[in-house]
Amino acid sequence: MAAYAITSSRRNLSPEGRGRLRQLRMRQLRIASVFILPYLVLFAIFGLYPAALAVWMSFFNWPPLGDVQFIGIDNFRELLRDEVVGKSIVNIAYFLVMDITGILLLSTLIALAMSVQLPFKGLVRVMYFSPAVTSMLVVSIIWSWIFSPNGALNYLIAMVGIREQKWLLDPDLVMPSLALMNIWRGAGFYAVIILAGLQSISRELYEAAAIDGSSGWQSFWKITIPLLMPTIELVIVLMTIWGFLLFTEPYVMTRGGPLDRSMTLAYHLYRQSFQFWRMGYGAAIGIVLLVMAFAIALIERRVIGQRVDF
């Protein structure tokens, strides 16, 4: 329609042309608003307003009885002194190191294996993906048993002569255990992502390298890994963001224990808000989460932005 062509040559218009342009834009906006309004209204009420309210709430004390009092940045001061917050961050970092290493190793191996011509691909893919489509709640329940004294893990390690472990009840083992569970859940899922990345590498690169006399190993290190880097970095960023939001496992399986060694920020937030009814403080913790999410996204943009340069 000719109307759309007008918008590009705004500078050359006469006053009445500009008036017509404004009319056109108003008309476009009117039509579009029918379509964007439902989303915007819903988002304003249930997305924007709560987030803004959270920031607002963090400056108050919201006791279950009595009045709401303005306390300025006291919640944040308490945050900085709160041991649990510090422990949570350490726990999450510890978790992420194990989680990311384990998943990257396993899912790359799986993806490489899957890229070969094999029978029963569909069935195999279903089996690898099934942990990821199961709800976290069910996964936590099943693994509660696996980690239990009479559970599958102790049974399996007994077969290779290792002593029975306390897993979730052992302060030193609780985070590694949660990491193990997460690796189990994510390996197949991330393998598919990495597989997609693998398949986007052009065959010709490998063929050219083979012609130049490169061996399989060399091709792997010089071609596959570098070109897979963006995908790998993406996987790392995703896992980091999800790692900070770890909640279901501590809630269902460990309640943050033992000795707060499996405490996470999200669970701390939940407990402060809905068990101790300290919603202002909970909101402050939520803001810490938001800041961290933004920080990770920013760092990621910088790091990935540098790699994509061919």
Partner: protein
């Protein structure tokens, strides 16, 4: 020559074997859970762990459970919430995607980027104020509180928009020339040809709504409104019928919660994978 071929076959065989073992490890816990649902409760935690037990299979757990919880009710609630959420998400977000691709208006690209940026807001931040708002709006302790806040989805907008972009402008333009309204164009022309993207969004949204447990935990109080995850967590934390966890029943509930999604996954494999990886590969 024959040795080289044999060597290759052997390598292929090992790869296949390793892959198969990994697949079994991935699937085994879920299989155990489903098999355990049919074991008499005292054998679920038995050592050594096994997939079957004396008295397998039995429907005893199911029988006892249905006496304590309205299983069908919880299942129906989950279905209702998941279906309603999926339908709503498809509607709201495809309208937004249509505006972002087939309509022209000032601030269009900015709006899209802002929508994407909002994906960074963690749920835990808005959780508490959302709780307060939902109460004030009268959406507490009913399904509205579960469905309505979940309708806007930057992910859905992204996926649907990507697909809409692949439709040539002529389709809409010729319909406009024929005098069709924009709404009619969306519903009668564009949506019917965008089924792949809609399927991806539908399947991902359904799975998310079906498995969701924290927000329903906060919003729903009445037993009649429990969804499957809520009933499950009550069972697991020994809230119903005494203090001891009756593992047989927990397994039944877990299996019933998981099976629908697994079946859906088997049927819509491609959509699930596309949806879950598109969320990751969007960059």
């Amino acid at each position: 020559m024959r040795e080289a071929r044999l060597y290759r076959l052997l390598r292929l065989g090992t790869v296949w074997l390793a892959l198969a073992i990994g697949a079994l490890i991935s699937f085994a816990p879920l299989l155990w859970m489903m098999m355990s649902a049919f074991k008499p409760t005292q054998y679920v935690l038995a050592r050594p762990p096994s997939f079957v037990s004396p008295g397998w299979p039995t429907l005893e757990n199911f029988r006892v459970l249905s006496g304590q919880i309205n299983i069908a009710g919880a299942f129906a609630n989950s279905v209702l919430v998941a279906v309603a959420t999926t339908a709503g998400v498809l509607l709201v977000n495809s309208m937004m995607a249509y505006a972002l691709t087939q309509l022209d208006f000032p601030g269009r690209e900015l709006l899209f980027n802002v929508i994407l940026a909002t994906m960074l807001i963690p749920f835990y931040l808005s959780m508490i104020p959302l709780f307060v708002i939902v109460r004030r709006l009268g959406l507490f302790d009913n399904f509205g509180g579960l469905i309505i806040p979940a309708l806007t989805s930057p992910f859905a907008v992204y996926v649907i928009r990507q697909y809409f972009l692949t439709h040539p402008r002529e389709i809409c333009d010729s319909a406009r020339v024929d005098g069709a309204s924009e709404l009619a164009i969306l519903f009668q022309i564009i949506l019917p040809i965008s089924k792949p993207a809609l399927a991806v969004v539908a399947v991902t949204t359904f799975q998310g709504a079906w498995n969701d447990f924290l927000w329903p935990l906060i919003v729903i109080q009445r037993k009649e409104l429990w969804t499957m995850p809520l009933a499950l967590i009550q069972l697991f934390q020994g809230g119903i019928g005494g203090q001891v966890i009756r593992w047989g029943q927990v397994m039944v509930m877990s299996a019933l919660s998981t099976l629908p999604i697994l079946i859906l996954f088997l049927i819509f494999q491609r959509e699930f994978v596309a949806g879950l990886t598109a969320g990751a590969l969007k960059r």
